[in-house]
Symmetry: C2
Subunit: 395 residues, 2 copies
C-alpha cells in the first residue's frame, strides 16, 4: 500500500468499459455477437492523435498495467516499472492504452461473463480465442478511441505475439512494433508444458467439465499445479538457485550443519517442504489460484499453442512480414528458456529476409522469461531510448 | 516380442530375491528390521571374483537392466543397449549385477511390500530412503555375493549419484566409478519439478494420504501428470521438436493448409489434443501410471532432493572425495537440461581438486537427459573403450 503515490507513477487510474455490438467473427468460425473490453489509459492523446501506444498483455496479465486503483492497493499495475511519467514508456509523451483481452477474467467478456444468448455464465462455452481475434478486437477499440495509427504496439511474451500479429494484420495502423521475449510460434516443449497445465486443471474433480461455478466449486488444486509448473518455466535455473539455492557452504559450520541446505533447516525425512523453493512454489500457486479463472487459463494456453502467423503464408514467416510497414525492436533475455534468444533471432532473421527495418537486442539477465517484467537497467534504458526516438519521429 | 533372442542379448534372465535379516539403520534414523532385494546378474563371476560390475538404476528403473524374462516380453531390460555379450558393458568379460533399490516397486522391499511388524502393506509408512541408504544396502548385497571389490560401479542420473556415494562411503570396494548424466546435488529448479510431481500425486483425491491400496483406489491422474512433467524434463526442446515439430512448410500446400502444424491436422478450436506432442505425453503418462507405485515415485523424488554427498564435509565436495580411491569416468550430454554438462563439470572440478584420477567426456547428443539410455555411438563406444581398459587392468 503506497502511503503516497510515487511521483513517477501514473497515479490513481480508473478502468473504462467499452461495449461493442458489432458481431466479431473468430478464427474458429464462432461469433461473439457482442462483447465488452475493459481498458485503462495513461497520459494524454495529443491533438494529432498520433502518440498512442498499445500495450498487449501476456498469459496472466490484464488491463491494469500501471498505477493504482486505490490507495489501499498493495501493488501497482503489472508493468508499472516501465509505464509512467519519465519512465521507459513515458506517459508525459505517450497516450498509453492497455486492455484485458477477450476470454480474460478481469472485466472483458470471457468465461465468467454472462452469455447474452443464454442468460447464463459462459464457462467452458466461451469460444476459443486466438491472437488474431484479440488483435481484431483491439483494432475495434482503436477505432473507438479515434486513433488511426499507433506510435507503437508493445508487448512481452504472449503480448509480443500480439504485436507481431498487428504488424501483419494491420500494417498501416502502426509505426513501431516492440516485441519482447516472444517466439514466432511455440516449440513442442512449450506446447507440452501447456498441455500439462490443461491436464492438471481439467482432471481436477472440481472442474466439472468447466461448469465449476454452477457446481459451486473451483478446480483450485488443478489451477495451483498449473501455475506451479508455469512458474518454473518463467524463471531461470540460475535465478531459482540464486533465490533459494544458498548452499551449505554459505552457512557457518555449527557442529553438524547436516540438512542446512536451501535454507529450511533439518530435513524432515517426510513429505513436508524441506526446501524453500517448495514453499515458494506453493505460495505462488495458491495465490494465483485464488485470483484467476481456470477456464480463462485454458483459453490463454490455447491461444499460445495456436499462434503461428506464418500459417496463411505457406509456413513462410518472412512472407508474412512482407506487407508489414513499421520499424521493429525485438528484445530477448539470455537466460529465458521458455522463449530463448534463438526464438527471437528466428523472428529477426525472417524480418531481415522480408527487408524490414529491425533492431535486435539480447539482454544479459539472470531472471529467465520473467525478466521482461523486471526493471533491468539495460533493458529499460534500451526501451526508453527507442521510444524516445519514436516520439521524436512523430512530428 | 523377440521371435528369437538376439545373439548380443544376455537372453532369458531370472531375477533372484535375496533376503536380509540384519536391521538396516537408515539416514533418517528409521530402521528396516529386514528386507528383500531383487537382483539380476548377467555374465559369470571369474575365479578371482574381481570382474563384477554394479549397475545402479535411476528414478523409474529396476533390476531388469538387460535381456528378457520370457519370450513374450515386448521389450528387453532398460539398459539392454549397453549390457550384453560384446556390448559396452560386456557380459563376456564382466559379471554384471543390478538390483531394484529399497523403496522400489519391482520386487525389493518397498511401499507395496508387507511390513513384517504390522502384517499390513507399508504404503506411506515405508521410511524415506536416501542414496546413502541404497548404497549401504548394495554393500550388503555385495558381501552376500562374495565380492570384495567392484571392477566398476556404473549408473546414470540418480544411478550416477549412487556411484558417487559408493566412491565416498566405500572407497576400498571399487576400482572404477562411471557417473553418467548426474549432478553433485539438485538445483532449486530440479527440486521444484520434483515438488510439482509430488504435489500432483498427493493432491489426487484417490491418494488417500498414501493409503490408496487399502481404499481400493489409485492416484492414477496424479501419477500420470507427474510423469508427464518428468518426461518433458527428460527430453531436450530440440529432441521434442524433431519428434513432433514438423512445421507447416514440411507439408505440401493443399489449398488451405491451415492448422497442418505438428502433424494432427486441422485445429480443433477446443481442448482435444491438437498437437501430436500432447497425445504422446498422455500416452507416456498413462502407460507409466499403470505400472508404477505412486508411493515409490514419491520416495524416489525425495532421494533425489536429499542427495548431497558434501553434507558431511562442510559442504565441500572436494573434501568428500579425498578418501575416494578409484578412477572416475564422468559423462554428460550436450542437450541435457535436467542435469546439464555444467553439473558434471562441477563434479570433475571437485575430483580434480581432490587430486583424483578422472576422465570427462561431454557427448554431443540431441536427446536431452534420456540420452544416457540410448545407443548413441560415441557414448557407447567411449563406455566400451573405458571398460575394456578396466578389464585389461584386472589381472
Amino acid at each position: 500500500m503506497p502511503q503516497t503515490i510515487p511521483t513517477d507513477s501514473v497515479g490513481l487510474v480508473k478502468p473504462q468499459v467499452h461495449h461493442f455490438d458489432e458481431p466479431l467473427l473468430l478464427r474458429s468460425g464462432a461469433v461473439l455477437s457482442s462483447y465488452d473490453l475493459v481498458v485503462e489509459t495513461y497520459g494524454e492523446l495529443n491533438a494529432a492523435r498520433n502518440n498512442a501506444v498499445l500495450i498487449c498483455h501476456a498469459l496472466s496479465g490484464d488491463h491494469h498495467a500501471a498505477g493504482y486503483h486505490s490507495l489501499d492497493d498493495k501493488k501497482a499495475g503489472w508493468w508499472d516499472s516501465c509505464i509512467g511519467p519519465g519512465k521507459a514508456i513515458d506517459t508525459n509523451l505517450f497516450y498509453v492504452v492497455c486492455l484485458n483481452n477477450l476470454g480474460g477474467c478481469a472485466g472483458s467478456t470471457g468465461p465468467i461473463s454472462i452469455n447474452p444468448e443464454t442468460g447464463k455464465i459462459y464457462g467452458p462455452d466461451f469460444p476459443i480465442v486466438t491472437v488474431r481475434d484479440w488483435v481484431n478486437s483491439q483494432k475495434r477499440l482503436m477505432d473507438r478511441l479515434g486513433i488511426e495509427e499507433w506510435a507503437a504496439v508493445v508487448g512481452g511474451s504472449l503480448g509480443g505475439m500480439q504485436v507481431l500479429r498487428w504488424s501483419i494484420s494491420y500494417p498501416q495502423c502502426m509505426r513501431n512494433a516492440v516485441v519482447i521475449a516472444a517466439a514466432p510460434k511455440l516449440s513442442a516443449q512449450n506446447i507440452a508444458f501447456n498441455e500439462v497445465a490443461r491436464h492438471s486443471i481439467t482432471r481436477d474433480p472440481n472442474f466439472h467439465k468447466g461448469h465449476y461455478l454452477e457446481h459451486g466449486t473451483y478446480p483450485k488444486q488443478g489451477l495451483m499445479l498449473a501455475r506451479m509448473v508455469g512458474h518454473i518455466t518463467y524463471l531461470s535455473d540460475s535465478a531459482m538457485s540464486a533465490k533459494f539455492g544458498k548452499s551449505i557452504s554459505d552457512f557457518e559450520s555449527e557442529g553438524t550443519n547436516f540438512g542446512r541446505d536451501l535454507r529450511t533447516g533439518k530435513l524432515s525425512f517426510g513429505f513436508n517442504a524441506d526446501f524453500e523453493v517448495e514453499s515458494y512454489l506453493h505460495y505462488q500457486g495458491e495465490r494465483f489460484s485464488e485470483n484467476f479463472d481456470a477456464n480463462t487459463y485454458l483459453l490463454m494456453t490455447k491461444a499460445l499453442d495456436y499462434f503461428d502467423p506464418s500459417v496463411d503464408y505457406d509456413g513462410d514467416l518472412a512472407k508474412a512480414f512482407e506487407n508489414s510497414d513499421c520499424r521493429f525492436l525485438i528484445m530477448s533475455f539470455s537466460t529465458d528458456w521458455r522463449f530463448p534468444p534463438e526464438r527471437s533471432r528466428e523472428i529477426v532473421t525472417k524480418l531481415l529476409k522480408a527487408k524490414r527495418d529491425v533492431s535486435y537486442l539480447e539482454i544479459a539477465a539472470d531472471q529467465g522469461h520473467d525478466a521482461f517484467l523486471m526493471p533491468i537497467p539495460r533493458y529499460v534504458n534500451a526501451l526508453s531510448a527507442y521510444l524516445q526516438k519514436v516520439y521524436e519521429g512523430l512530428a
